[in-house]
């Protein structure tokens, strides 16, 4: 199947076979599923059908991969961070440079895919939720390119801490709708986007930003992001002549994690590590580590790990990084954890901030705060390994959007509050 697009070396890099698929109802073991309001059941089934039809269509992939190559800038480099590796000690650290994609984060891989689906389904308008604003920017970008109307739902608290992205979305022609309900962060933005979609599903496609939500979104988002891990796998084989010992990604909902980790799933010798946001520390209760500290629950259309109280009320989370500040996690990651295929790690706000500075000073790369969590844990893991071993860390996004937060943290700006 993968070699069926004549004349494209680029396209032949990618394997289009869907492995580890959920069951027909979208369940990964006991997780996932489609816990949606009745009004959304039919639209979700239509998206599922459109996805499977598109995925089997060479023309769809030809256009998708062409955009990924010439518009997004794929393949992204796999960079051997030698100075960082030496300063850190231990294993060799390779960075998957998703920060170099158009719009500055991995999110665009998915919005290109879902945007093409939306166009295929003849939808005139797209909506999305966003936390850090990266998914919002990536959605607004694709909407501009395809000429679609675009509304982005964003918690008011997130708008304040990610103002540059809010302004970018506006510049791209999207409307950013502030969400004040609940905790005014990512989970509430999802609620509000769902409420809008229920009323507009006839002409509107909901471009969901992470590998969570009701079926088929966890599958869709994973498939559109597997380019990350498939490239990384081929690149490390070429550059180092062997597979990595460890692959590391940060986890909010799980889109960059599934993108990097999924293609290594059948390589039993490769450890897969998901790094959650430990906020002020797991013991303080002020964090966003749903896999480490949550329990199984149902939110936003799927059964997964949630941070909630004893009676199932979803809790307020904390992370310095808006993109990780979410009380749930993709259902497939919950499944992989229970299956024993996934190892958990966590990084606090302070550790992420230190990792951001370490990479900036050692390699001249300013990572996003989200990705800095993966760096913090990945570097720590590397220290306990031999020099001839390899750790791949997903550098899921660049840090431009976080400069205000970083400067305040360093005391270079007067804190307005």
């Amino acid at each position: 199947m993968s070699s069926s697009r004549p004349g494209s070396d680029f396209a032949s890099m990618y394997d289009l076979e869907i492995t580890h698929a959920p069951d027909a109802g979208g369940h990964f073991g006991r997780f996932g599923g489609r816990f949606a309001a009745e009004t959304l059941m039919q639209p979700l089934k239509e998206i599922e059908a459109a996805f499977f039809e598109a995925w089997a269509d060479d023309a769809f992939h030809a256009e998708r991969l062409d955009l990924l190559e010439h518009y997004v800038g794929r393949a992204t480099p796999l960079y051997h961070a030698e100075r960082l590796s030496n300063q850190n000690g231990g294993a060799q650290i390779y960075l998957k440079r998703e920060d170099l994609t158009h719009t500055g984060a991995h999110k665009i891989n998915n919005t290109i895919g879902q945007g093409l689906l939306a166009r295929r389904m003849e939808k005139k308008r797209v909506i999305a939720e966003t936390g850090a604003g990266q998914h919002g920017v990536a959605t607004a970008t694709v909407a501009a390119m395809f000429g679609m109307k675009c509304d982005i739902y964003m918690g008011r608290e997130d708008m304040a801490r990610q103002m540059p992205n809010v302004l970018r979305m506006r510049l791209l022609g999207a409307k950013v709708i502030p969400v004040d309900s609940g905790t005014a962060t990512l989970k509430d933005a999802v609620n509000e986007a769902l409420r809008n979609w229920v009323a507009t599903c006839e002409d509107t496609f909901y471009i969901f930003g992470t590998a969570a939500g009701p079926h088929p979104y966890p599958l869709l988002v994973r498939q559109f992001h597997t380019v990350i891990g498939q490239e990384a796998r081929a690149q490390i084989l070429k550059q180092a002549g062997r597979l990595p010992d460890v692959a590391v990604a940060c986890v909010g909902g799980g889109s960059n994690a599934m993108g990097l980790l999924h293609p290594f799933r059948d390589d039993a010798a490769v450890k897969l590590v998901a790094v959650e946001a430990a906020g002020y520390g797991l013991k303080t209760g002020k964090h966003a580590a749903s896999l480490a500290a949550g329990k199984a629950g149902i939110l936003h259309g799927n059964l997964t790990y949630l941070l909630e109280d004893d009676e199932g009320q979803v809790q307020r989370t904390h992370s310095i990084s808006a993109g990780l500040d979410y009380p749930g996690v993709g259902p497939e990651l919950a499944f992989m954890l229970e299956e024993g295929r996934l190892q958990l790690d966590a990084a606090t706000d302070e550790e992420a901030m230190a990792a951001l500075q370490l990479l900036t000073r050692s390699e001249g790369i300013i990572p996003a705060l989200e990705s800095s969590h993966a760096l913090a844990a990945g570097a720590r893991i590397a220290q306990s390994m031999r020099q001839d071993q390899i750790v791949i860390i997903n550098l899921s996004g660049r840090g431009d959007k976080d400069m205000d937060t970083v400067f305040r943290h360093l005391g270079w700006l007067e804190d307005a509050s």
């Binding site: 489609r34 309001a37 059941m41 609940g182 229920v198 939110l299 009320q313 979803v314 809790q315």
Partner: protein, 278 residues
């Protein structure tokens, strides 16, 4: 179907009228006031839907979202919901009672325990907005053991296949969502609603499991309630009542407002003779 719901719809049918289904969120604005409000609404309703407050009510509009927030801020726990249900049941033995909410609250308790407590409190049925028939495997057995009807929703986007699925998987009555949207939005074209309800009733009859169809979401005025009552088996009014709580000051004032609204709705539904739709 529970004896009580069967009898109640039969009584309404004998009177040639639709059932009035009233909704309030339990614990809104606080448990003590909520007790008085639920009893007042129960007095005028055929069926009372008691909302279980949840932190993330995704299918609800601003009015019922605010109700959940008020109830949780006032410290309403799931056991308070059961206690309120028990109070209403003791006062109104023939009233239909439906517990309504989102999956995560019963899931956190465990469906077996939840169903046992709901049944012991006197509920007849449970409506969980985000458990469609396809995911019923997590709760259906527990509800069956404790003889609770599972109310399923249908909407304008439901295909014939989904209508059959709901008739096969649900019991008690079908809750038809009159609009593609959230609770409290504007009601759609009443003729389209009537057509879809007739279509659901026909499919349900052909499937050999004729269930009453109640229409909700967006019924805000007594005039709208009367229009719907002419063809539906029941009319659900929620946001309209809940809005009285947000608008009123003291608990006495709120109680008076709910009582007055419930009276208006009751009269509208009762005087709209069934089967005389224009």
């Amino acid at each position: 179907m529970s004896r009580r719901l069967t009898d109640l719809f039969a009584r309404c049918k004998a009177d040639s009228r639709a059932a009035l289904v009233g909704y309030l969120t339990a614990g809104d604005p606080d448990v003590a006031t909520s007790r008085a409000l639920l009893l007042a609404l129960a007095d005028k309703s055929d069926i009372l839907e008691i909302g279980m407050p949840f932190s993330d009510p995704m299918a609800d509009g601003p009015v019922i979202q605010a109700a959940s927030e008020r109830a949780l801020a006032a410290g309403t726990h799931i056991n308070d919901v059961f206690a309120l249900t028990r109070t209403v049941r003791d006062a109104y033995p023939d009233l239909g009672i439906v517990l309504m909410g989102y999956a995560n609250v019963p899931y956190a308790m465990g469906f077996d325990i939840f169903a046992e407590k709901a049944s012991a409190a006197g509920a007849d049925a449970v409506l969980i907005v985000d458990i469609p028939p396809e995911e019923g495997h997590i709760c259906d057995a527990a509800f069956k053991v404790h003889e609770l009807d599972r109310i399923l929703l249908l909407s304008p986007t439901s295909t014939d296949e989904r209508i059959r699925l709901a008739c096969d998987s649900g019991s008690g009555f079908i809750y038809y969502v009159s609009l593609t949207g959230i609770t409290g939005a504007d009601m759609g074209d009443v003729r389209l609603i009537q057509q879809k309800v007739a279509h659901i009733q026909a499919i349900s009859a052909a499937a050999g499991n004729q269930m009453p169809v109640c229409v909700g979401f967006g019924v805000k005025t007594p005039a709208q309630a009367a229009q719907v009552a002419r063809f539906a088996d029941g009319v659900v009014v929620g946001s309209h009542f809940v809005a009285r709580i947000a608008d009123s000051g003291s608990s006495d004032e709120t109680l008076a407002a709910i009582t007055a609204s419930a009276n208006h709705m009751r009269r509208a539904v009762q005087t709209a003779t069934a089967g005389t739709a224009s």
